[in-house]
Each structure stands twice: as C-alpha cells, then as structure tokens.
C-alpha cells in the first residue's frame, strides 16, 4: 500500500486557515458578479426607494416649510426600508443552494467572508441610496448645505444599516415570516443611526454644525465593522446547525 502521496498533501501555498483578505475579496467579487447578472432585481430596489420618497409629499400637504422639516427624516426612513427590503437576499440564496454551507466549512475566516458579502450588499443597495439622495432631497426643498449634510450622513450610515441588517438576516435564515421578523429585529437597533443621521441636518440648519453627529456615526461605523461580521458569522453557523 502506498503511503500518503504528495498529490494528497495539503496545499503548499500559505496556510489558508483564518485568511482574511482573500476571503473578503472572494466574497465581494463573487456577490457583485452574481448581482450584476440579475440586474433587474437591483433596479427594483432602487425604484422602491425613489417611490417611497416621492409618495410622502403626495400624501401630505406639500407646503414648503413642512416638507423641508420632514425631508431628512423621510429620506432616512426610506433608506432604512430600502435596506431592509434587500437584506433577505444577503444570505438566503446561498443558504438555499448549499453554498453558504461550503463557506462555513472553508478554511477561511467566516467573518471575513461575511464582511465581503455585506460590502457587496452595501454597494448594490446603500450606494444608490446615497447617490440619489441629493436629487430626491430637492423634492423636499432642501438647500445645498442640508443636501450635502444629508448625503454625507447617509454615506456613513448606510454601511451601518447593512452591517446591523446582516445580523438580522443571518438570524432569520430559512424562517417563516422572514421579512417582517427581520424588520422587527433590526429596526430597533438602527434607531441611533437614524437619530444622528437625520439630526445632522437639523444641527446644520440650527447653525450648530454636524461635526458631533458625524463623529458619532463614524464611531458607530467602526464598532459595527468589527462587531457585526462576528455576530453575523456566529448566527450563520447557528442557522446551519
């Protein structure tokens, strides 16, 4: 009987266990490629955001002062809803076809893989929201400084929404009542993001400057960047159990 041949020796390249950068890049590239091959789905989510934001002035008296006061809040809530709408697909497809299992069994660090997926989610659902915000904000008679504050806030806040949402998406994998349950779990956690993001515009309008708000959002983003992938990876392993 032949002894273990070199053909079966483990890869002689650098040990793969716990690798972070290749895992992140692999997950991000793969998810982006898949997302772009189902482009129609992406368009629908952006459209949802636009419609929700447009509906508000139609259902309330479009008096300029009121609109300007409501504007930031509406845009933030719509961003939140748009994020929630696309969160289920973060893990669900991979869970259903067995690739999530393979990711959990990979020698790579699962939090790193999850981070890559979250980054792809943000690029496909958060970034369009940020880009469209200035345009949509004009419907609410927001001036230039308000629009720029709003957009910067969304730029800092939408990744946090993706990160927190990923935890919820992983916890609710494969469960009935998925979407609504996901919203119930995630929305309370996102309240601070909403408060500081929309509050930044109010602060600027009151002449106070939004520095504190942005610092807090940035701090929140850092905490979420470290903590959320770990929690989401733990939740994925629990769901695969």
């Amino acid at each position: 009987m032949r002894a273990l041949t070199p053909a079966l020796a483990l890869e002689t390249a650098a040990p793969a266990t716990g690798a972070v950068a290749p895992a992140f890049v692999w997950a991000l590239a793969r998810d982006m490629r898949i997302a772009f091959r189902s482009r129609a789905e992406l368009g629908v989510q952006v459209l949802f955001y636009v419609i929700v934001v447009t509906l508000f002035p139609l259902s309330t008296a479009p008096e300029r002062g009121l609109l300007a006061a409501l504007g930031p809040g509406v845009l933030w809530v719509a961003a939140l809803l748009a994020s929630l709408l696309s969160l289920p697909r973060l893990f669900a497809a991979d869970f259903a076809d067995g690739t999530l299992e393979q990711m959990a069994l990979s020698p790579w660090s699962l939090p790193a893989i999850v981070s890559g997926k979250i980054a792809a989610h943000w690029l496909t659902s958060g970034v369009p929201v940020v880009v469209l915000a200035p345009l949509l904000g004009m419907q609410y008679a927001l001036d230039a400084s308000a629009l720029s504050t709003l957009t910067l806030g969304l730029l800092l806040g939408t990744p946090i929404l993706s990160l927190l949402g990923a935890i919820g998406a992983a916890l609710t994998l494969g469960l009935r009542g998925g979407g609504a349950l996901l919203a119930l779990l995630v929305l309370p956690l996102t309240v601070p993001v909403l408060i500081f993001g929309a509050g930044a515009v109010d602060a600027v309008r009151a002449g106070l400057g939004a520095g504190a708000n942005f610092s807090l959002l940035a701090a929140g983003l850092l905490i979420a960047l470290v903590g959320a992938p770990l929690a989401a990876a733990a939740a994925v392993r629990i769901a695969l159990d």
Partner: protein, 250 residues
C-alpha cells in the same frame, strides 16, 4: 460555590428547587407589595406640586428598573448558554423574556398615566420613555425569534446572540435618544424628575422595588418549570415526578 451551582445545571435537579423557590419568592413578593402599597398609597404624604397623581411612581419606577435589569440578566444567561452550552441557561433566558416584556409594558403604561395629569399629555417623546419603548421592541424581537424557530437548540443559540447584540446596543440607543431629546425638548419636561423625596416615599419605592424583584424571580422560576417540562418531555426523570404520575393515573 461554583461546584454547588453546577450541580443544579441539569434540568432534572433544578426543577424541584425551582418549584420551591418560586413559591417562596411569590410569598415574599406579596408581602413586599402589600407593605409598599400601604406606604405609598396611604402613609406617604400628598405631594405639594403634583398632588396624589405622583403615587403612580411606586409602580412605574420599580417596573422600569426591573425591565432593564431583567434584560441584563437575560444577556448574562445568554452569554453562559453560548459559552458553556448548558440547556438550563437558555431555559432561564427564555423564561425571563416575557416577564421583562411585561415590566416594560407596565412601565410604559404607568408612565403615560403619570404624564396625563402632570403634563397634560399621555405621551411626550421623553428620552427614558422612548428608550423604554425601544426596549419593548427588543423584548418582542427575542420572543418572536424564539417562536419562529422550531429546533430548540437553534432557538436557544439564535436568541442568545440576539439578546447579547441588543444588550450591547441598549446604552447606545439610550444615549442617542437622550441626545435627540435634549435637542428637541430642552430641559422643560423630564418625566423621571420624581418629586423631592421625603424619606417615607423612598421607603415606599424600596419596598415596591423589592416586590417587583421578588415577583420577577417567582414568575421566571415558575415559567422555567413549564419550559423544562415542555423541553424535557420524554426524559425518564420527568415521567417519575409525582405530579406526572398522578395525572397519568387520573
């Protein structure tokens, strides 16, 4: 002490202890409640500014404290469950959630009834009340997640992760709501500015807090006994219990 605790880590040995303790704490809760309500409703003087309506704080404040304390304890049991993989830790976390939600609900409702005569409105977006409301949603989330998952092991671990994530977020949420509140309300309304405490009022509060604490423990222990029965069905020790034998024979 640690050795002693681990002996109770199995549902079988914890069950009789839980039953006994639940009864004792229920009695204690009743005693404290009677004493506290007597002090609060009868002995404590009428407040100079708020009249008699302030007396609702004897229920509101203990309930609010317990709502937060219970969540913290739930998070601790959840951490134990994830760290040591003990079923009973998860069962305790499971048993605590509905009581915590109840305390939060009571705190919100009594807060609303306190607000009405005092400031003319049932709900003002004050920092503490808003945070309590979000805490209620967090409790509902944990309960809903547990109900949505069939497999008990997955439910235990998923709820544990959710509880811990929520616990980390609660200070952040409170801080953010407080920030928002000071910007929008100024220093005018503060629902938790309890009237200057005569010492008799403080006594009443302490008694009611002890009552709430004892009640919560009694309720959680009583609930954990039914959780144990439900989850350990089929275990030999369960079928040997006198009450099981009685109901089977009947």
């Amino acid at each position: 002490m640690a050795l002693n605790l681990f002996r109770y880590a199995s549902p079988a040995s914890f069950y009789p202890a839980a039953q006994r303790m639940a009864r004792w704490f229920a009695v204690a809760a009743a005693v404290f409640a009677v004493a506290g309500l007597w002090v609060g409703l009868i002995k404590a003087p009428t407040d100079a500014t708020q009249g008699d309506s302030y007396r609702i704080i004897f229920i509101h404040v203990p309930a609010a404290w317990m709502s937060m304390f219970i969540y913290l304890v739930m998070a601790l049991w959840s951490a134990l469950a994830l760290g040591y993989n003990t079923r009973l830790s998860s069962m305790m976390a499971q048993a605590l959630a509905p009581t915590g939600a109840l305390m939060t609900f009571v705190a919100l409702v009594t807060g609303a009834f306190w607000g009405r005569p005092t400031w003319g409105t049932y709900w003002a977006w004050d920092a503490r009340m808003t945070s309590e409301l979000i805490l209620l949603f967090l409790y509902f989330g944990v309960i809903a997640l547990r109900n949505a998952i069939d497999d008990p092991r997955r439910a235990d671990r998923a709820c544990a992760v959710l509880t811990i994530v929520g616990a980390v977020n609660i200070p952040i949420i409170y801080f953010s709501v407080k920030w928002w509140n000071t910007l929008h309300q100024g220093a005018t309304i503060s629902m938790t500015a309890a009237p200057k405490m005569a010492s008799i009022m403080l006594t009443g509060l302490v008694l009611m807090s002890l009552a709430a604490w004892a009640y919560s423990i009694a309720a959680a222990l009583a609930r954990v006994t039914s959780v144990i029965i439900e989850r350990e069905r089929g275990a030999l020790w369960l079928s040997q219990l006198p009450e099981m034998r009685r109901s089977v024979a009947a």
